[in-house]
């Protein structure tokens, strides 16, 4: 009998130990938004590897762990499985100025908003399909005291498109302080979208981003995701482009100089992300010395081509002017040159310049296997002007 009793006791013990743990279930909720103190709008976020909210429960624990929450794309957050109590809370690793850790009481359903400022505000975003490109235009308000590192456009089928969640992107490193008036444009070729969805009228989500430099663990600031339908049937046919041998793609200022004009990279580009902009007044507009470049063309059939933007041609009066290439490392020796207005015409806006080598004015014999100098000048510019140059090549 004793034995049977013992067995029963043991079995009962098993039953009691089968109970679930004896902790209470989570009994509180927290929700809120991260809000731009100036505009009152939520600060746009990313869900994958995005900004995060660290919180530590202040209870009777020896080494309380740091727990974390993430924001949704629209800057809101919510956690329905919290324990009522006192917490340290701090939003970090983000695209906003970090506030000191806050102490809060979470009880029932608690609303908690984080009011701060983003590192960069992205404003006046517009999208347009131009040719076979998606073109985003936008302005930036730089809030942090550091240059903007890069600007970007991201695209994906997912409405939560971001730098970590995107099929396609175009990222341009600008590394400069920006003024709120400057308009940036970034392009995305639409052809790669057909690799994702081959035909029809698919919709993709687009988002513009800008990343600050100098702030540790900074994330991109974003515009709101925008859903845009791309009707492939309305796109113009692929233009047969003449790529040529590019002597300078104008994606960097390295080696470029000017006499009187201020040079900078500009996102209004004919190729790649940038053109080189010259602003001001003077004689030498652009000048660059290259490592010897083999044009792979001959004097009879070859062409020098590039894109040249002139905001307003009217200050260009009659005078000595030239576009020159040489193989002597400097001007006027082993040279080919063409004169504004006489050998080619320019109009306001972007000009597609195509100069036949056989029509060039000769100053000695140029070695087309080792072109190493280019200069564009005009001796009679009567007022400040704006030029942009891009995609200098031979074919």
């Amino acid at each position: 009998m004793k034995k049977v009793l013992f067995i029963i006791v043991v079995i009962l013990a098993f039953f009691t130990s089968c109970e679930l743990d004896n902790y209470d279930a989570p009994n509180a909720k927290i929700f809120g938004k991260i809000i731009d103190s100036e505009t009152g709008e939520p600060i746009q976020q990313e869900i994958l590897e995005g900004s995060r909210i660290d919180y530590i429960e202040l209870g009777d624990f020896a080494n309380p762990p740091t727990q974390q929450m993430r924001f949704k794309t629209d800057g809101s957050f919510r956690n329905d499985l919290m324990f009522a109590g006192k917490y340290h809370i701090q939003a970090r690793r983000g695209n906003f100025f970090i506030l000191p850790a806050d102490t809060i009481i979470v009880k029932g359903e608690t609303e908690y908003n984080i009011v701060t400022e983003p590192y960069i505000r992205i404003k006046n975003v517009s999208y347009a399909i131009e040719g076979r490109d998606m073109v985003a235009s936008f302005q930036l308000e730089q809030v942090a005291d550091y240059p903007v590192k890069s600007i970007a456009i991201f695209a994906d089928l997912n409405p939560n498109v971001s730098q970590s969640l995107r099929k396609l992107a175009n990222v341009a490193e600008i590394n400069k302080n920006v003024s709120p008036d400057e308009t940036f444009t970034l392009k995305m070729k639409l052809d790669p979208f057909m690799d994702i969805i081959p035909d029809g009228k698919p919709s993709f989500y687009f988002r513009v981003g800008a990343l600050i430099s100098g702030m540790p663990e900074a994330k991109y600031n974003y515009s709101e995701p925008k859903k845009i339908e791309i009707d492939y049937s309305t796109l113009p046919p692929v233009e047969p482009e003449i790529p040529g041998n590019v002597i300078d793609d104008c994606e960097s200022l390295t080696g470029w100089g000017s006499g009187g004009f201020q040079l900078s990279l500009d996102t209004d580009a004919k190729q790649g992300n940038f053109s080189i902009k010259a602003e001001g007044q003077g004689v030498v507009i652009y000048q660059k010395k290259f490592a010897p470049f083999d044009t792979q063309v001959d004097k009879e059939t070859g062409t020098l081509a590039f894109s040249l933007f002139i905001l307003d041609t009217s200050p260009m009066k009659a005078g000595d002017s030239s576009i020159e290439i040489t193989s002597s490392g400097g001007p006027d020796v082993e040279e080919l040159a063409w004169r504004f207005g006489e050998d080619f015409e320019v109009t306001n806006g972007w000009n597609k310049i195509e100069l036949k080598l056989k029509d060039g004015r000769k100053g000695g014999e140029i070695n087309l296997n080792a072109v190493n100098f280019i200069r564009i000048y005009h001796t009679n510019i009567t007022a400040p002007m704006v030029f942009k140059i891009d995609n200098i090549r031979f074919y």
Partner: protein
């Protein structure tokens, strides 16, 4: 009777009886065999990243060593897995070493305790054993520091009755690296001053090579730390991160250690002067097929003498191309990327990486796949496109149509039909003028090695893996049959450490550094010396040491992993047979079924397990 027992029981001599199931330190260490046996057990635990280093664990060669071929080489830009596109199988927990590291440290401390009490061995033997202790400590703390930053320095056996004393807080990252430097120095003083003829035992020279590797890591972290700046409590306490000023200190330590090795004349490159590139290819291959061929170059070798669980490795199993898999069902897991192939120079363009040009316009950055409008270069034999590339490439990878183990390795992604239609990455066949042609180059999966999805056995980059494979061993059905030895420290690494440290710090001798860089190139049949620039040194390092499990740590310590891997797709080269001309064309493309991968900067430091109990300050982001 009872009284009698009590009396006996109280006798002191009864308690002094030596236990029969244990052997005393003196007995064990009184013979060289005993010392060797004890050290062998400890050496096995040194965190050497050899053929059995996996993201899950070091020494991963258990009875069922199936981790699906996930080895470090496929998680960088040098290769991709045939079935594994990730660069991080376990995320933050890749290469976690915390628990193994402290277990090993405890064992080293136990040896240290014993040495002092030994009476039966000479002072010389004791000195050497102390040297071994310092060496293993240096290696172990190097392995911990490069993963976790500053860690708890437990220098002596802990007293488990003193519970409070068990909780050793983390030292700063700088203190931890200083400790690694100091124990390397102690090891170099205490260990044998002559190189071990077989290169299997730690000597002064191994300690110096370790110091060079560790110092370069520490210096790089100090110099490049702000490429991804962390914040948080661990940073505020100096547990991760170092002031940039610390970089010069560690570069100087690296330079000093390298100079001592270089100027000793103890080491040289195996077959320094090959007659031609073909000879250079074979010379380079032989170093890895059997390191004992190249003892002048090897500084420290880990031997794999026996097959079986806990002894052998699975390198030949996972590495061989499908056609030479023998009885093993899962070959071809390591696929070298096109980026790596591009990086190798051509002999006619020294000092520059030389991307594979596949089209007449010479464009090499278009990965959008086959395009009928493009003019492709045509080749009679797929091998021709690689002509003139660095000799080491052909010892490192298998290019399409080349011979490996007397077998022509067929790697083909598709064909262009006589009507101009391209059939790529599909299993099809076609009769042209009475002869049958196959998209993958042969009629049956057993007869080719590329691009089909069959069994995950086929390369999807267009290249097979060769370095380290044993040309005379045919894989058997089973685990841990490979016994190729592993060179842990090789003289070229020292030369390259030196060159990098000289360039990054402006200290040391640039002439000696340039000489070392060019010695390595000459051994690869290059005739032209190239200048000492950081681009040249880093390219040479990537190529010479490729697949020696260095790349991960190089990207990590120089803090450019996240820059290189932001939504990145690795690249492949597809050989395609044009049935109109019966010539081969090549398509540069993203790796099929690859996808974009990103290195999360959080992974620059690993999470410390168990902080809830230990109370240690956790690394950032965890």
């Amino acid at each position: 009777m009872l009284i009698l027992i009590l009396t006996v029981g109280c006798s002191d001599s009864f308690l002094d009886v030596k236990p029969t199931d244990k052997i005393t330190g003196d007995a064990l260490f009184s013979s060289q065999e005993g010392i060797d046996a004890y050290l062998a057990n400890l050496y096995r635990q040194i965190p050497i990243e050899d053929f059995n280093a996996t993201p899950e664990a070091l020494n991963y060669n258990p009875g069922d060593a199936n981790n699906a071929g996930r080895y470090p080489i496929i998680f960088t830009d040098n290769a991709i897995g045939s079935e594994n596109s990730s660069i991080s199988p376990l995320g933050a927990n890749d290469y976690n070493y915390w628990e193994s590291g402290y277990r090993f440290n405890k064992e080293i401390n136990l040896l240290k305790d014993v040495i002092g009490n030994l009476t039966s061995v000479s002072e010389e033997v004791k000195r050497n054993l102390m040297g071994q202790v310092y060496f293993m400590k240096a290696y172990n703390y190097y392995a911990l520091a490069k993963r976790y930053g500053g860690v708890s320095l437990i220098t002596d056996t802990q007293d488990f009755l003193n519970v409070e004393g068990l909780y050793v807080p983390r030292s700063t990252e700088e203190e931890t690296w200083d400790y690694v430097m100091a124990v390397c120095d102690s090891a170099a003083v205490y260990l044998d001053q002559d190189p071990d003829p077989k290169r299997r035992k730690a000597t002064k020279w191994v300690a110096l090579a370790l110091k060079s590797r560790a110092a370069l890591h520490a210096a790089s972290v100090a110099k490049f730390w702000d490429k991804y700046e962390f914040t948080g409590k661990a940073v505020d306490n100096g547990l991760v991160g170092m002031p940039e000023s610390a970089a010069d200190k560690y570069y100087a330590q690296c330079i000093q250690a390298c100079e001592e090795i270089i100027k000793s004349g103890n080491f040289s490159l195996y077959k320094q002067n090959p007659a031609n590139p073909n000879e250079a290819t074979e010379n380079y291959r032989l170093i890895f097929e059997d390191p004992n061929n190249a003892l002048e170059e090897a500084i420290f070798i880990k031997g794999f003498n026996e097959i079986g669980a806990g002894y052998g490795s699975n390198q030949d199993n996972w590495g061989n191309p499908n056609q030479t898999r023998g009885a093993w069902p899962h070959p071809g897991r390591f696929n070298p990327t096109l980026e790596l192939i591009d990086e190798y120079e051509r002999y006619d363009n020294p000092g520059k990486s030389s991307p594979i040009v596949t089209t007449k316009d010479g464009v090499v950055n278009d990965y959008s796949g086959y395009n009928a409008r493009k003019e492709y270069l045509e080749f009679d034999d797929p091998q021709d496109i690689f002509e003139g590339k660095d000799a080491r490439m052909f010892a490192t990878v298998i290019v399409p149509n080349s011979i490996w183990k007397d077998t022509k390795i067929i790697i083909q992604a598709g064909y262009i039909q006589p009507d101009g239609k391209a059939v790529i990455m599909a299993d099809e066949r076609m009769d042209v003028n009475g002869k049958m042609y196959y998209t993958f180059g042969a009629s049956d999966p057993a007869l080719y090695s590329g691009f089909s999805t069959f069994g995950g056995n086929m390369t999807r980059t267009g290249f097979g893996f060769k370095k380290f494979l044993n040309s005379s061993y045919t894989p058997r059905l089973g685990w841990n049959f490979s016994t190729t030895d592993w060179i842990d420290f090789r003289y070229p690494e020292v030369l390259l450490d030196y060159a990098e440290a000289v360039l990054e710090s402006g200290q040391g001798d640039p002439v000696l550094a340039a000489e070392g860089l060019n010695l390595i190139r000459k051994r690869a049949a290059h005739k032209t010396d190239i200048p000492l620039t950081i681009e040249n040194v880093l390219r040479e390092r990537r190529l010479e040491l490729v697949y020696e499990n260095k790349r991960y740590w190089d990207l990590l310590r120089r803090r450019n992993y996240h820059e290189i891997f932001t939504q990145r797709e690795r690249k492949a080269l597809m050989p395609v047979l044009d049935l109109r001309t019966m010539k081969y064309i090549f398509v540069r493309t993203n790796v099929p079924r690859g996808g974009q991968v990103t290195f999360n900067p959080s992974w620059y430091y690993k999470p410390i397990p168990g902080v809830g109990v230990s109370g240690l300050i956790q690394n950032p982001h965890y």
